[in-house]
């Protein structure tokens, strides 16, 4: 059969764009199955075709057809697949656009680190160039190229919306002095946003403006280059990616700002901060790029804004956006903000780097043809949310807001308030912070410049079994903790004194100094007696021994084998007290 024109072009592009990282991901897979359980598409109904390895095989087969000598001679033997017809391209489209959101949950569970999102992105870029791609993606790409933003918002509409929001904030704060500065040269920072915020959902902008104003910051909105989103990422097209990045960077350079603050958008942050400087060959840039989450942490840490969590009394949970948690390491910042903005914060399990996709990632929200499938595989996420019993779902990504809102409607997740049953609202973190903010009698005129990050919580793990130490170290590190390890009692005491951890996990049965002795020594050492101690032991009887002594009982206890979820919840509970205390001491005010 003759090869179709599109297939010919696709194959050529695929060969041209293949790089070393792609080849590594295409050749390293051992089909071990470790990734199966990490993919929400597979977990929905255990369809073997939906395992990451099987999906990657449809791309891997093309690679083998081109480069593997066995693939050329005996294709069936090594699973090599030729792309020959337009139907082949359509099938490939259904895999890379319709069955993968590029969330990279499989990558962190892969022993070889196969970058699924990388090879999916490569394939997407070749398909886009032969126009075998969801219409929604092509439309948004066109709009970004032509208008500089993904929703084709005109400059006039954009500026008028900012003016309107200025009036809204003036009314809310009863302060006629509030202004949304536009293109203010030499400002400390420029704020770049998701077009969805001006077009349809400006509550997050209103919240951010309120925070900036109450904190007395020196900021500006850009009149151009204001879209932080980037369909270069979802289409795999580096040229568009570079173009969008440069629009924002060039304008920020003209304004001469110190920083670019990126609003709560997962892929927007990933693209603007990490990818687009490379795509657009824009490095080095004369300003720093941070997420609004990091900015809010600074403001809270330094006491620049004061929060009253009583203003948000309902139970709140947080969804980790893949591009912020797994791909950018922003896991503690949103929690830091939320735990100080609401009374009842509840974790979704699993969370942080291990969180499941909102199911709307990778541009999926713009692909109506796959909406049904997207919602059918969202069951895992829906169950996770339901189990928290939260009344409000928060997330630091606009795309996740829509993905989650859709699945909440589909799975009918409701919360009863004042006798009325409502679908759970999904909000951005800054909305809760803005709601909790205490407005001082007089708004500050100062312009603080702060550059601090959340201090990670330090945990000392004492256990004589090296595999347990390694396991707990990895588990804690993956969840944002700093870890120190000790393999016997003496080393444990020494490190506790030298490094002053925020929590100690302690094994009981160890050669030399036993856990019981270590426990008592620490409890009887002045200034160390208040470090919480979490006993993790396989020997239950020792428990009684420990509690019979005259010192204060351990704060936590757990029997081996270790259940990671319970372990993490206990660690989180015990260290949260430390975190709150630190905040009080540092700001001198209640956190």
């Amino acid at each position: 059969m003759a090869m179709s024109e599109k297939a010919k072009e696709f194959n050529q592009l695929f060969k041209e764009r293949l790089n070393r990282q792609h080849v590594l991901s295409l050749t390293a897979c051992a089909h071990c199955g470790m990734c199966n359980d990490s993919c929400h598409y597979f977990l929905a109904d255990n369809d073997p075709k939906m395992t990451p390895a099987a999906k990657a095989d449809s791309i891997r087969g093309i690679y083998k057809g081109h480069y593997d000598w066995l693939g050329k001679i005996v294709p069936f033997w090594v699973g090599s697949r030729q792309v020959k017809t337009d139907e082949d391209l359509e099938r490939l489209k259904d895999v890379v656009f319709g069955s993968c959101t590029g969330c990279r949950r499989c990558t962190i569970n892969c022993p070889f680190g196969v970058d699924m999102a990388g090879i999916v992105s490569l394939t997407r870029s070749c398909l886009v160039d032969v126009e075998v791609a969801p219409e929604g993606v092509l439309t948004v790409m066109k709009d970004q190229w032509e208008t500089g933003n993904q929703m084709a918002v005109s400059k006039e509409d954009y500026l008028e919306t900012l003016e309107w929001l200025e009036e809204e904030v003036q009314m809310e704060l009863d302060d006629a002095d509030f202004k949304v500065p536009i293109d203010k040269e030499g400002s400390d920072f420029v704020f770049v946003i998701n077009p969805r915020e001006v077009k349809y959902a400006p509550l997050s902008l209103q919240a951010a403006f309120k925070i900036f104003h109450v904190a007395g910051l020196d900021w500006t909105m850009p009149s151009e280059g204001w879209d932080n989103t980037n369909f270069g990422l979802f289409s795999g097209k580096a040229d568009l990616g570079g173009h969008m990045g440069n629009l924002a960077y060039n304008h920020a350079k003209q304004l001469g700002v110190n920083r670019m603050v990126i609003s709560e958008c997962g892929h927007g942050f990933l693209s603007t901060k990490w990818e687009a400087p490379n795509w657009g060959k824009a490095n080095p840039l004369p300003f720093e790029m941070i997420s609004i989450l990091e900015l809010m942490v600074d403001l809270i840490n330094t006491g620049t804004i004061i929060l009253d969590p009583k203003k948000n009394p309902l139970p709140v949970t947080y969804h980790d956006p893949c591009n912020l948690s797994r791909s950018s390491g922003l896991t503690e910042e949103p929690r830091f903000c939320l735990k100080r903005s609401c009374l009842d914060f509840r974790e979704m399990i699993p969370n942080r780097a291990d969180s499941y996709c909102c199911t709307g990632g990778g541009g999926a929200m713009s692909m109506a043809e796959y909406a049904k499938k997207r919602l059918s595989v969202a069951k895992k996420k829906a169950d996770q949310i339901r189990e928290t019993g939260a009344a409000i779902v928060t997330t630091a990504c606009h795309n996740c807001v829509d993905g989650l809102s859709d699945l909440i409607k589909h799975y009918d997740l409701k919360y009863e308030i004042n006798g009325k049953s409502m679908w759970l609202p999904v909000k951005n973190v800054c909305e809760l912070v803005a709601d909790a903010i205490v407005i001082p009698m007089e708004l500050p005129k100062r312009k603080p410049r702060v550059k601090e990050i959340v201090k990670p919580v330090k945990v000392l793990v004492i256990d004589d079994q090296p595999d347990i130490v390694d396991y707990l170290e990895a588990l804690l590190q993956d969840n944002g903790y700093e870890v120190i390890t000790a393999h016997d009692g003496d080393e444990g005491i020494e490190k506790a004194k030298a490094d002053r951890p925020d929590l100690i996990t302690l094994d009981v049965s160890m050669p030399g100094k036993s856990g019981v002795t270590v426990f008592h020594e620490l409890r009887n050492t002045p200034t160390f007696e208040d470090i919480p101690i979490f006993i993790v032991t396989g020997v239950v009887d020792f428990r009684q021994l420990m509690y019979q002594k005259t010192v204060e009982a351990p704060e936590g206890f757990m029997q081996k084998p270790i259940n990671p979820e319970v372990f993490l919840m206990t660690v989180d509970r015990l260290t949260d007290r430390t975190r709150q205390k630190v905040a009080v001491e540092e700001s001198g005010k209640p956190a």
């Binding site: 993904q150 077009k199 409607k409 679908w423």
Partner: protein
């Protein structure tokens, strides 16, 4: 392509439930679509929003900015969310028979 059916209403919708043929929109269709958005009764206030969106869409072929919707109807943002729990883009636009908004929504 999917078919949305409720009572006498039978229309073509995309997988997200947005209308494919804006011409067949009428008040009965709007009321039927509203049920999928958690709105069982369309009040006068709902109609004010829906009619504005509809007129704007017929005139310009796109959805208006949220600022225009609020200014023209005189409703504050919070009111729009009260009327249409899934918000202006997904909720109100769907009921008014608009095509699905493009981009990250």
């Amino acid at each position: 392509m999917a078919i949305f059916e409720l009572g006498e209403v039978k229309i073509e919708v995309d997988e997200d439930g947005f209308m494919q043929e804006p011409d067949v929109w009428n008040e009965t269709v709007a009321a039927a679509l509203a049920t999928t958005e958690g709105v069982d009764d369309l009040t006068e206030e709902h109609w004010k929003v829906v009619n504005y969106l509809r007129d704007y869409y017929l005139k310009f072929g796109i959805a208006p900015m949220i600022r225009k919707l609020c200014k023209e109807t005189g409703f504050p943002l919070k009111k729009i969310y009260e009327l249409f729990p899934s918000g202006p883009a997904k909720g109100a636009c769907k009921v008014a028979g608009l095509a699905k908004p493009t981009g990250c929504v």
